[in-house]
């Protein structure tokens, strides 16, 4: 069976646009609300990324950290994350969902247990921020056996030689980090430069889908639309934080942002 993630890229390609991916944190700002946010996003988004929050996130910037701490404070547990995925998938089975987080959470749950729960709740892909190649080879194989994509990251610091090895061992989707930054940093280089770096990676294996993420907002997304897919995370987390401060409903405000993002890439 083809993984839903690949189908989502195919669909976007036939519509001559990049796939839109969003990242939100499970349990932000509550279990119920994060499920509602996910459901409302999914109407406009091709692939949903859902973070399972960790309290020592070494690659996340302020916005996602804030969301993660909020979720942890509200008592989110791994089993709640799986429950959110399951509830989401009940009515949105065909919408691909990627879980994203840090390795210690998986390590404590047990790799096999974790993947079994992923499979049962309907997860289609996994990103583990601090499990790079070649440390990830075993885990990646286990994912493949369950038809779950293990999505590897490639950074501007990754050498060409290393990128080739990573891509050779990768599944259909690859995540290119736009610049040297934690998530949500200000773009330090122009979208044109990002795309030129991206193309070097893309050319290594044009058949694999490669998305760009880190620092993308409604202001920059339009200039990057020649990529296979674009991920927006921090801009959404920031909106949730803002909504809470203003006592607005984050669900509606987040939807508005996503509609705006979608317009820019059509």
């Amino acid at each position: 069976m083809t993984n839903l993630i690949s189908l989502a890229f195919e669909k976007a390609r036939t519509e001559k646009r990049p796939a839109l991916l969003t990242y939100t944190v499970a349990g932000d700002n509550s279990k119920k609300k994060s499920l509602e946010i996910l459901k409302s996003l999914s109407k406009y988004v091709d692939i949903c990324e859902l973070g399972f929050p960790h309290n020592t996130p070494i690659a996340d910037g302020g916005q996602i950290q804030t969301s993660a701490y909020r979720a942890i404070k509200n008592g989110i547990k791994i089993n709640d994350v799986f429950k959110i995925v399951k509830d989401f998938k009940k009515n949105n089975f065909s919408k691909p969902l990627i879980l994203m987080g840090y390795y210690n959470m998986i390590y404590q749950y047990g790799e096999n247990n974790f993947l079994n729960r992923c499979k049962k709740s309907g997860v289609n892909g996994i990103i583990v921020v601090d499990l790079p190649w070649p440390e990830n080879i075993n885990f990646s194989k286990k994912c493949k056996k369950k038809n779950i994509y293990f999505i590897q990251l490639i950074s501007p610091t990754t050498s060409y030689k290393r990128a080739k090895k990573i891509i050779k061992d990768s599944h259909d989707m690859i995540y290119y980090i736009s610049m040297l930054s934690t998530t949500g940093g200000k773009l330090k280089i122009t979208p044109k430069e990002i795309l030129s770096n991206y193309m070097k990676i893309k050319k290594i294996n044009p058949k694999k889908n490669c998305v760009i993420g880190f620092g993308i907002t409604d202001k920059t997304i339009g200039k990057l639309k020649s990529a296979d897919g674009l991920v927006v995370g921090s801009a959404i987390c920031r909106e949730i934080t803002k909504s809470i401060a203003k006592r607005h409903n984050p669900v509606t405000n987040v939807s508005k942002i996503v509609i705006k993002l979608k317009k820019r890439i059509l």
Binding site: N55, T56, D130
Partner: protein, 414 residues
């Protein structure tokens, strides 16, 4: 799991950077893979380079002021009764603690790599203070990440860092202590690794940082071995080396040359921070059987929830207030080469009182933990047993805490 002889412990890891197949490694974001590889290549090249070693030794001798003293604490020994108690006074080193060795080596490496900026984390403020000193010495711009709670309780060191021209960046996330400072420092490096070198302040973090730090602090035991032989003619039959363990950099350095001795001859005792007597929280993952987890790029025993969230620690000593511990010590624990135990805040304060009462020595709260256990155990030992405590830091930085906890008379510092 077994220790190898004649190979430095820092080099006994596998191709994934793991000790005993379980501890250490490189669990880092992809962005850091290259700067880590670059640092590995540079370090591996230079550590075998004679002129680099000569350069290091020159700075160690003329600037840090090695060797530090090895002294007998006669009054304390007489008071305690039992074993003879000695101290390696590492706080003699320039700046007042062992952190200077690692800071100096990192700055030397940063210069060789052509970096202009260096960043580091700090808990007690000693790692930060030393890095700021070394950065100034080598003409590097320096930023230090420090938990907001630690900034409040270790003001003397904060002032010293600022005086050395470093920017001290307060970290407000999480428990606002060392663990958060290290995270924030790593995040900063993720975003700036092209221009900036990072110094991890202890034998923690991704594999190469454990190695560089251990290689640097090993200076302590190299000196000590010579000093012991000079004093006793050979290594005595019963030696006990007591050292506090937070991240584990001073203890590794204090022990490294003695690894190959039988533990009946040279016993290694690590003392972790047990926290306040009345609290459940502690910073003693080895003593209290914490599970293996991943923290700051390395697998290690670490205080965490069943879910894998890192737990908050509590200790009077900011330098030991870390939920994890060096993979080297995890390995030493599992191979039973070293023995680990904990002392409470109160134990450490009592030991500080006792040492300062009998000796002209002011161990900071960190080594006071080690003194506490050493004194307790020395009572039951024979006269020919040589107990040596690494007094790895000076109490000047703790003067505010000591004043509050013990009263004004303990605040008499030159």
């Amino acid at each position: 799991m077994k220790l190898k002889k004649k190979i430095p412990l820092i080099d006994q890891h596998d191709k994934f950077g793991m000790w005993g197949g379980k501890f250490g490694g490189n669990f880092v974001p992809e962005t850091l893979k290259k700067p880590i590889k670059d640092l590995e290549d540079l370090f591996n090249k230079l550590r075998n380079n004679k002129s680099f070693i000569a350069e290091r030794d020159r700075y160690f001798k003329n600037w840090i002021g090695v060797p530090t003293r090895f002294i007998k604490l006669n009054n304390l020994s007489n008071h305690v009764g039992g074993a003879q108690i000695w101290s390696k006074v590492v706080s003699d080193a320039n700046g007042g603690a062992h952190k200077i060795y690692n800071a100096t080596v990192h700055c030397l490496l940063a210069k060789k790599a052509g970096k202009k900026f260096i960043v580091g984390d700090t808990g007690a403020g000693y790692a930060g203070k030393m890095l700021s000193m070394a950065a100034k010495k080598f003409g590097l711009k320096c930023k230090i990440f420090m938990g907001a709670k630690d900034i409040k309780r270790q003001q003397p060191n904060v002032k010293a860092m600022k005086k050395n021209g470093a920017e001290v960046i307060p970290v407000y996330t999480g428990s606002q202590t060392l663990v958060d400072a290290v995270s924030e420092c790593m995040r900063y490096w993720v975003a700036n690794c092209d221009t900036t070198a990072m110094c991890v302040g202890s034998t923690v973090g991704p594999n190469i940082f454990v190695k560089i730090c251990g290689w640097s602090t090993s200076q302590i035991s190299r000196e000590l071995k010579i000093q012991i032989k000079k004093e006793f003619g050979s290594i005595p039959k019963k030696v006990k080396l007591y050292n506090c363990v937070g991240g584990g950099s001073s203890s590794y350095g204090f022990w490294s040359e003695f690894m190959d001795y039988n533990k009946n001859q040279v016993e290694l005792i690590g003392v972790e921070a047990g926290g306040p007597k009345s609290s459940n929280k502690h910073a003693a993952p080895l003593t209290y059987g914490s599970k293996i987890g991943i923290l700051h790029g390395a697998a290690q025993y670490v205080n965490q929830s069943t879910e894998g969230q890192i737990e908050e620690t509590e200790s009077i000593s900011a330098g030991l207030d870390y939920p994890g511990v060096s993979p080297l010590h995890c390995f030493l624990k599992d191979t039973r080469r070293a023995r680990y135990t904990a002392a409470t805040d109160e134990n450490a304060l009592d030991a500080y009182k006792l040492v300062t009462k009998y000796e002209n020595l002011r161990p900071s709260l960190e080594p006071s933990h080690a003194f506490s256990v050493a004194i307790k155990e020395a009572k039951k030992m024979s006269k020919d047993t040589v107990v040596i405590v690494n007094s790895c830091g000076d109490a000047h930085k703790d003067k505010n805490i000591l004043k509050v906890k013990l009263g004004k008379k303990y605040d008499q510092f030159n």
